[in-house]
Symmetry: C2
Subunit: 259 residues, 2 copies
Amino acid sequence: MDKKLILLTNDDGIEANGIHALYKTFVEDESFEIKIIAPEFERSAVGHAITVFDPIWVKKEYRDGEFYGFGVNGTPADCVKLYHELLGVKPDLLVSGINRGANVGENIIYSGTVSAATEGISNGIPSIAISIDSYTEPDYDFSARFAKYIAHMIFDDSYLPKKTLLNINIPDLPEEKIKGVRITTQSDAKFKEYFLKRSDPRGRDYYWMDGEFLEISKCDDGDYCAIKNGYISITPIQYDMTDYSKIQYFKKWDIKIND
Amino acid sequence: MDKKLILLTNDDGIEANGIHALYKTFVEDESFEIKIIAPEFERSAVGHAITVFDPIWVKKEYRDGEFYGFGVNGTPADCVKLYHELLGVKPDLLVSGINRGANVGENIIYSGTVSAATEGISNGIPSIAISIDSYTEPDYDFSARFAKYIAHMIFDDSYLPKKTLLNINIPDLPEEKIKGVRITTQSDAKFKEYFLKRSDPRGRDYYWMDGEFLEISKCDDGDYCAIKNGYISITPIQYDMTDYSKIQYFKKWDIKIND
């Protein structure tokens, strides 16, 4: 059987432990051939940024003396867009992560990890994003195995609909404490930021963004709620942002152009 | 009557003609008080990026000797998040633009202009984004007046639903050639990019992203189709990216965690 080509990317940078955990777990599986195209440096919270006014440098990166992957001085979306230039063929699956920090609720609109997967489905590549709900360096082993398990489901039994990615979030718990898997929606949970104001020695003002993650909706089928209750959250995500529920409402507005 | 507080922002930078056209048009209307918080420099295609690991510098910018607004060395989303620090009160309306270049189809996921408005509704501020379908410097006058007209509709007669922004795109036509207004959906139209590969004098590879905008769906209710046919496009946009149509499908997957 032909090997399935897996493209790994992330937003924590090609040196990060999360993508290396995916690499180690997938590469030992003979069903898969692994390629890495990832940002050279950490690119968290870049949202769906792309690099259009600057050149994008690509470097071959080595690990233990062996070619490891392409390091790109661009965003996660840039990395995915470059697949054709760098690989010559379309990957069978894109796996973005493993991100340190959950990508749930409104946070997903800021997430480089999820945006790489969005770029994947926009390019016709089945895609999953995977993150752990931890801001300290977690154990990535279980998450990497879970990603591989989902990859096998996609290839063996199931079918990932076109233009739908899977946004997977793993609670920061030992494997035996994880209660199960929930298919979820994007929670109405918001990162409540605040700013620390400082002045430099010349009196110029600057701000540091900081904040905390708050649940603001009731706890029902949402991704945030699932991980906080000990479940793996899997959310199907698409990128048509039209608010279809309001189309008829706005069609009733009497908008003229010659007022 | 109390004046309505209008916050202007953009992704082309505080010096851009598009935001200045909005400023001139809104400031002469006694119903409005105008504030500007905008990136110091052009920040196109930053998507919904935020600045979390670097300080955000804020500079007071002057125009013709008068205070004009706050220039922020951050992204459009940063600018909106800073509203409370810089203004002390919540604006009654956010207007993001006027962007040079349409923000339609899949392009809206890369758009700093739209992401500022998304950040607005996420912060409970009624928000509109406005762009002109032109990549050369257009005449912004009609678009600015149209934005003001919509602002009056929002305050006087109508009601912008919470968590829904209006993404307005103006065709690049003389006012008298514009055929009308269409309430649209986000077209299934994609920016088809390609890369120019170059090598520097030391032999290192780099890439320039370039491309063209292609319509790939049939021309029905989409934003791209409306502007190409001479209509102003108004799309209601929200940011819950859950693919609700696939929830039941994935619930049938037999996902175990102890395989």
